[in-house]
């Protein structure tokens, strides 16, 4: 099945800084999602982005499907952005939604 890798595993930033999280995947995908897991464990949908670029406020994401990676950008970080960010993907011909190991983001006031 598809392999999904995320980097970096941990990221500590000052409030107001910008960050870039990366997701690499091993096969062509027809589904790529970014989630934020809040302190209570719920997975919050950020982007559904199998290709192209999307923006939502301070967050944006880009998926370059031909090169098999996706990037999540967070600008002007706030303490509420802290938590674990996951990407998950479904490859063509396989319906399993496979998660990466996550990036733990800590924003320091």
């Amino acid at each position: 099945g598809i392999q999904v890798e995320q980097s970096p595993p941990d990221l500590i930033l000052q409030e107001g800084a910008n960050s870039t999280l990366r997701c690499n995947f091993s096969d062509s995908v027809n589904n790529l999602q970014w989630f934020h897991q809040n302190p209570w464990g719920q997975l919050i949908n950020l982007f559904y982005i199998p290709s192209g670029t999307k923006q939502n406020g301070r967050l944006s994401a880009t998926t370059v499907a031909t090169e098999r990676y996706s990037l999540l950008y967070i600008s002007s970080s706030q303490t509420t952005d802290s938590g674990v960010y996951f990407c998950a993907a479904i490859s063509f011909g396989n319906e399993k939604l496979t998660f990466g190991t996550g990036t733990r983001l800590t924003i320091i006031p």
Binding site: N30, F35, W40, N45, A88, I90, L97, T101
Partner: protein, 111 residues
């Protein structure tokens, strides 16, 4: 639109006891997933349903775990008997064609 509903939110049981979790997906969503998330790890797929048929259960420990989705809507996941290593958050998700949405999860502690 209502989201994915799960219950209970928390459960503490002793090892060798049984436990069941319930999930109600978003209305009209044909695909339903159950994931296990152990502390510090990413979610791992246990079983995936398409309507009331199983698409993938390759990582479901079938000697102790079972799941069903009656009438292609609600689903239950059961563990019997539970082991200490089953302590985790159990997440249910549903999707219609592509984007998956998750419930709040059930945190299971086996003591």
């Amino acid at each position: 639109e209502a989201g994915v509903a799960q219950s209970p939110r928390y459960k503490i049981i002793e090892k060798r006891q049984s436990v069941a979790f319930w999930c109600n997906p978003i209305s009209g969503h044909a695909t339903l997933y159950w994931y296990q998330q152990i502390l510090g790890q990413g979610p791992k797929l246990l079983i995936q349903f398409q309507n009331n048929g199983v698409v993938d259960d390759s990582q479901l420990p079938k000697d102790r775990f079972s799941a069903e989705r009656l009438k292609g809507v609600d689903s239950t996941l059961k563990i019997q008997p539970a082991k200490l290593e089953d302590s985790a958050v159990y997440l249910c998700a549903s999707s219609l064609l592509s984007e998956a949405f998750f419930g709040q999860g059930t945190r299971l502690t086996v003591v």
